[in-house]
């Protein structure tokens, strides 16, 4: 009873220092938790995103580039795949479904992807989940200049069913590169929270035969998305395409390719985590500095309390409790910082990749970061507490 009152009163008496220190803890805690949560959640989400396919077949080159291009709709295609190669893999006994993909155009920066209607009717972007359209929409007719727009792209571009647009050549928007063809939006996809939300889907043939595209590549593809019948089949095809063949690349399994990506950029994660740890340490040290610097003015109060019969342990406990309380207040506020950073980060990641992070998803860091920072805060109170412990009572009973 007495200890909480002593701690609370002391916090109030040193309100400015308490607020500044708690604010620094809040920033550090928010940063620490959000760096950790973005790292773990994005790793889990990105390695889990496969658009419902097991592998990507593409031109000889980097598996990562192939996956980023065909699954995440980022990066340029490493090269083209012949139509015959698509037919070969589509008929392969190990393959359950093969969907061709052609890229190379955009509309105001949002990528156009040419494909077959089977992507919507047969493929599952997640187990048991097919792409669905908003009410009134329909999937495109492969023989017409029609487009189905991903939900995020439609929202950002302001496209609605019935709207018409001219595609632009290339993957980056340049007003001078407008194609002559006009496409009509026939459907808007319901959000799938996958990179497909950022894409404008048009018939494969339409993209291949767009005016200005090279005539010798008209029947070529950027990649083939492959759904296998079994994992064993993937191993055999990996051997056939990657070890025995030298013309194409078979990126399988997709998740493993992304794991490699995170392994490659692991150093960046570590630097971010290190920065967050250092910020947390500096914030903790500010508790020490804040309380320690106020010890001179506290000495008389400590002496009075001791003269009233307070044991040294109570005085020490009050100082340690105060340090822990500052850290606790800071960590309570840190959740506000965490939410802000997470919402911003999730928005940026969604805008850039179409992948959706859940800012409100529970992460163990929400428990262990407060526990560790509050413990560190209490630890920071040890030195001032020792100083309080050693305060000579008689010397400080008289106003200095």
């Amino acid at each position: 009873m007495i200890l909480p009152l002593m701690i609370w009163r002391s916090l109030r008496q040193h309100a400015l220092s308490t607020l500044v220190t708690a604010f620094s803890i809040a920033l550090a805690g928010g940063l620490l938790m959000s760096v950790w949560a973005v790292r773990t959640q994005s790793q889990a989400v990105f390695t889990g995103v496969n658009a419902g396919f097991d592998a990507v077949l593409g031109a000889r080159g980097s598996k990562l580039q192939l996956v980023l291009n065909a699954v995440f709709h980022l990066e340029a295609s490493p090269g083209n795949v012949a139509w015959e190669d698509y037919l070969t893999i589509a008929r392969h006994p190990n393959v359950a479904l093969a969907i061709p993909l052609a890229v190379g155009d955009n509309f105001r920066g949002y990528r156009l992807a040419g494909t077959l209607p089977e992507l919507f009717t047969r493929a599952e972007f997640a187990p048991g989940r097919h792409f669905t359209l908003r009410p009134g929409g329909e999937f495109f007719d492969p023989t017409r200049r029609e487009a189905v727009v991903g939900s995020f792209a439609a929202q950002k571009l302001g496209l609605r069913r019935g709207d018409q647009f001219h595609p632009y050549h290339g993957l980056t928007f340049n007003e001078a590169d407008q194609h002559a063809e006009t496409y009509v939006v026939v459907g808007i996809l319901e959000p799938s929270n996958t990179p497909a939300d950022r894409v404008i889907w048009i018939p494969l043939e339409g993209l291949q035969s767009m005016s200005g595209h090279a005539t010798n590549t008209v029947s070529e593809l950027s990649a083939v998305l492959v759904k296998l019948k079994s994992a064993a089949g993937g191993f055999a095809m990996d051997q056939a395409y990657n070890k025995q063949g030298n013309r194409l690349t078979f990126a399988w399994p997709i998740g493993q390719v992304m794991v490699e990506l995170f392994r490659k950029i692991g150093w960046f994660d570590e630097i971010l985590a290190l920065v967050a740890d250092l910020v947390a340490l500096v914030a903790t040290a500010s508790i020490l500095a804040g309380i320690y610097n106020s010890m001179n003015e506290r000495r008389r109060e400590i002496a009075i309390l001791r003269a009233l019969g307070a044991r040294r342990s109570i005085i020490c406990g009050a100082i340690l409790g105060e340090a822990a309380a500052i850290a606790a207040f800071g960590m309570a506020a840190a959740f506000g910082g965490y939410a802000s950073i997470m919402v911003t980060a999730a928005g940026v990641i969604r805008a850039q990749t179409g992948v959706v992070l859940d800012p409100w998803q529970f992460n163990p860091v929400m428990v262990f970061a407060p526990v560790i920072l509050i413990a560190l805060g209490a630890l920071a109170g040890v030195i001032p507490a020792l100083k309080a412990y050693r305060t000579p009572v008689a010397e400080h009973l008289v106003p200095g």
């Binding site: 008389r300 109060e301 307070a310 044991r311 109570i314 009973l397």
Partner: protein
Amino acid sequence: MTLPLVNPLLAIRHLRKSYAIPEGGRHLVVAVDHFDLAAGAEVGLRGESGSGKTTLLNLIAGILTPDAGTITLAEQPISALPEAARDRLRARTLGYIFQTFNLLPGYTCLENVLLGMSFGPGPDRAHAVGLLRRMGLEQRLNYYPRQLSTGQQQRVAVARALANRPRLVLADEPTGNLDHRNAAEALALIREICREHGAALLFVSHDREVLAQFPHVADLAQLRPPETIAGQPEGRA
């Protein structure tokens, strides 16, 4: 003060306390060979500035430990007890009124009184409120010391000192910072409350007018053994 008491509340024997001085050696601040105080007694203790009055009170309260000699308080050898036991004894047996009141600025009047009780038998809100009401502070329970007049602060300090129903109240020049009228009122109040609570009072002052109101007055200089007067500073550190 050498009253022949069989079972004194406070007994001091051959007490010595000295401090190291910058020039080397030690300065003997307190030297009392024999001093007894009966339960419920009111004794004034005279001493000039720098005569060791506050040091003596701090020794009695167990805040300081003597170089030599013993202090027995309520049959407990307070000077020989471990620190935690001294703290407990102080919280339960003693009330201490300081010249500068020493109220805690971050706590209200009521909290100042309750805080003193917390280290002793435990907070008793009704008793604390009753004491403050008795001091005429019922309208000031939630005021902070800075919001009170000097006289009101003094009364809070008295209430805090008596809150644990102490057997001995040590008053260290509690009227020293007050004007004549307030000093007289404060003294009367302290004595009255101590009587009501059956507490002994050791009232330190150098003001002859104040001390004249006590039935017994001891002079710190006269308590000092003659052999300790000439030898200051005594010995080497």
